[in-house]
Amino acid sequence: MSAQTVGPTVSAPEAHDPPAISTAPAADRARHGWVTSLAPLGSLLGALGIWYVVSYVVLRPERRFLVPPPHQVLSVSFLDWSHLEPMLSALALTARVSLIGLLLASTLGVLAAVLMSRARLLERALYPYAVILQTVPILAIVPLIGLWFGFGYTSRTVVCVIIALFPMIANTLFGLQSVDRAHHDLFTLQKASRWDRLRKLELPAALPAIFTGLRTSAGLSVIGAIVGDMFFKQGSPGIGTLLDVYRARLQSEDLFAAIILASGFGVAVFALFTFLNRLAVGSWHGSATDR
């Protein structure tokens, strides 16, 4: 997202300048501007080129299904509604699971962080286990989640929450605890209540950190939802379910298309939260502006 927003400033060579000295650097600058703006497109073309080389040169025809060429992915999957439609509705379902998971994780995370910031003892008591939440391999507890919550949506959502919770807690807690001491003094001088201090000082000050957490957790909850799809297959399929189905049936064009869709969704979620961050704190916090 950021690569495109940084617009190139192409300055035209000035006609009045002595040609020998100044046109060369000006032309350099102009060319540099071109190169910068075309760089992402160039790397995309390069990647497509390599993809074609792998499909047609590296792989023998009978093994070409491992990496079907780009135009085939396009025609077989993206341009065929009977293939694309199930993928899109599966993606919509996965998106819903991951957003609900993110919503729960961020609510629980912010609440937990606020509680921990209120009482040092609580932080001491809870934070180590929050860290464990982060380090426990999610795949290791997947069978347990299935036993407890069934093999459908609930478990998919639970996976999302578990995977996305820690960054919310850690970032919010960091934000709440790094409020300027002079600002705290200001509130102390006015004998502010704890509630006012939280509402009018600590939470707003923590907002940039909370958004950092949200961005990380949003990406993780997408991963969580896809992993959840793969293991908890009761009910309508998510995009993760389809990935597994396509793999099993060797539908490699559809597999590629589904991967591209899932990645695109991840990028879109990240971009959405970058945008929301700018909207919420962009006017005053350096993390979201160029100033």
């Binding site: 200001l186 102390t188 001088l189 009018k200 000050a205 006017s283 100033r291």
Partner: protein, 248 residues
């Protein structure tokens, strides 16, 4: 004016020892009369800021007593200490808001003090859009909004450039003459102390003690070019000499 001089702030035999064992202040006796503007000058680390924290009740003395009259003080910090997400108006309103003043009343009061510091028209700006001098004016307005009778200033103009600093001193001087409050003003700058104060107090290096006190007799309001009068220079010279003596 009544015959008996009321005291706005009084330190009696105040010691302050930090938890790490450092003795920051020792045997401080200092009082600020109602309507009096007292400046404190002293070398770095003489406990000037600690003095203010004690005066405001943010901190309590190890020995002795600190008594401040009235329940609210106006505290002006070293930096403007504005909340960056709040507009200028909302920043100025904050102390009144926390004190539970109803919104229409505090809003009107905030507009009044913003006009007083020369910032009308900037209500909607965010602190990040203002210059250092303007931010300090906002900070001043914020301290004025609850109409405290006692002001505490912790080197408020220390971070400003020289020209802005002189202008801010003149502004404060004007506001002081209009509003008539008591103040304890901490600064590094002797001319600043003399220009603003009725009395300048000199402190020694750690542990901080009051070593000298000078009355500054010029009536308020004081013109800007008072700073270049020989009588002004004479007092500034005496204060500087006392300061050097204390530092030796």
């Amino acid at each position: 004016m009544s015959v008996m001089v009321e005291t706005a702030l009084r330190f009696s035999g105040v010691d302050k020892r930090f938890p790490n064992g450092t003795l920051a202040l020792t045997g401080v006796d200092l009082s600020v009369a109602a309507g009096e503007f007292v400046s404190v000058v002293g070398p770095s680390g003489c406990g000037k800021s600690t003095l203010l924290r004690l005066a405001s009740g943010l901190d309590s003395p190890t020995a002795g007593t600190v008594h401040a009259r009235g329940d609210s003080v106006g505290f002006v910090f070293q930096d403007a200490t504005l909340l960056p997400w709040r507009s200028v108006l909302a920043n100025v309103e904050l102390p009144a808001e926390l004190a539970g003043t109803p919104k229409p009343e505090r809003r009107e009061r905030a507009r009044e003090v913003l006009e007083l510091v020369g910032l009308d028209g900037f209500e909607k700006q965010l602190p990040g859009q203002l210059s250092g001098g303007m931010r300090m004016r906002v900070s001043l307005a914020r301290a004025l909004v609850t109409r405290p009778s006692l002001f505490l200033f912790d080197e408020p103009f220390g971070a400003l450039d020289e020209i802005t600093r002189l202008r801010m001193q003149e502004e404060l001087q004007r506001i002081l003459s209009e509003q008539g409050f008591s103040a304890l003003f901490i600064t590094h700058s002797v001319p600043e102390a003399v220009y603003l104060s009725n009395r300048v107090v000199v402190m020694s290096a750690r542990p901080g003690r009051v070593t000298a006190s000078f009355d500054v007799p010029f009536p308020h309001p004081r013109p800007a070019d008072l700073r270049y009068e020989p009588a002004f220079a004479a007092i500034a010279g005496e204060v500087s000499a006392a300061l050097r003596g204390g530092a030796r």
